[in-house]
């Protein structure tokens, strides 16, 4: 069971959240995006083995979305930061592949 700090409500168990997948995937301008670009946005994911920037939503609580940096190797949470904020630099944040 992962325990993740909701920026508002504090530490809550994984079961209270909805996992929202990779963070920082902006929706491209549809008019200026070709099919490959659209496929990229819809489906292609970095899926790194290492630090992953991802989104979570506190579904059972305050219902806020926020971002998390988490190691997909050992599930350690390295940072929690608001939607829209840039990905923080954390030590050991190198991902294998990606």
């Amino acid at each position: 069971m992962l325990w993740i700090d909701c920026p508002w409500c504090g530490a809550r168990p994984e079961t209270e959240y909805r996992y929202g997948g990779e963070a920082h995937i902006a929706r491209p301008d549809p008019a200026a995006t070709d099919d490959a670009g659209w496929a990229d946005y819809l489906f292609m994911r970095t899926n790194p083995k290492g630090v992953h920037a991802e989104r979570w939503m506190h579904r059972e609580g305050c219902r806020r979305w926020f971002n998390v940096l988490r190691s997909t190797v050992n599930n350690e949470v390295l940072a929690v930061y608001p939607m829209g904020a840039p990905r923080p630099d954390v030590p050991g944040g190198e991902a294998e592949g990606g």
């Binding site: 508002w8 809550r12 079961t15 059972e60 609580g61 806020r64």
Partner: protein, 193 residues
């Protein structure tokens, strides 16, 4: 032509008998009567809106997460950074709407959306621990704490109210029979044979 009934029908009406039998032993369970309720949304940075709301409610909106404020028979529960649940006298909606006119806000009447159960007694915390993953120890969950969380398989608002002897569990109507049944089941071991 049909008149409106004097009292609203509780979604737990069918469990009245079972609840009546849950008034003794290490833990008791009671349904709270329905009250008027509002879901209030406003921007927590909007000082004027906060002040206007506080003026109507007689209490400042709690800004600290997981807390509640009360004034008289009115309570305001923090639900999110821009969301509160106000329980109090009816007709408040109009006053609030008036006070907040011109400010970005939303007031939604949710008076009929929930049932509230009160769990008290020496073993109340233990009963909750069977279904709630949060730390309910008084050091972490002082009197006055109010959280939205999961209890068993229902989403609830859990408020350690008053002097801390009672946990008020507010649950959406459709889940209320399930949750009350679950609680009665979890309480069984503390009830007199």
């Amino acid at each position: 032509m049909a008149e409106a009934p004097a009292t609203p029908r509780s979604p737990l009406a069918g469990l009245a008998g079972a609840l009546a039998g849950a008034q003794a032993g290490g833990v008791t369970l009671t349904e709270r009567p329905a009250r008027a309720r509002l879901n209030l949304r406003l921007d927590p940075e909007d000082e004027e809106a906060l002040a206007a709301a506080a003026a109507v409610l007689g209490a400042a909106l709690p800004l600290a997460p997981n807390t509640a404020a009360s004034a008289g028979d009115r309570t305001v529960l923090w639900l999110g950074p821009d969301e509160w649940l106000v329980t109090g006298p009816a007709a408040e909606a109009d006053m609030l709407t008036g006070a907040l006119a011109g400010r970005h806000h939303a007031i939604t009447d949710v008076s009929a959306m929930y049932a509230t159960l009160a769990l008290s007694g020496a073993n109340a915390r233990e009963v909750l621990m069977k279904g709630c993953r949060l730390d309910l120890h008084p050091r972490a969950f002082a009197a006055g704490t109010c959280v939205q969380t999961a209890l068993a398989r229902a989403q609830v608002i859990l408020h350690r109210s008053g002097n801390g002897q009672t946990y008020e569990i507010t649950v959406r109507n459709s889940f209320s029979v399930y949750l009350a049944t679950w609680l009665l089941d979890a309480m069984a071991e503390y009830r007199p044979a």
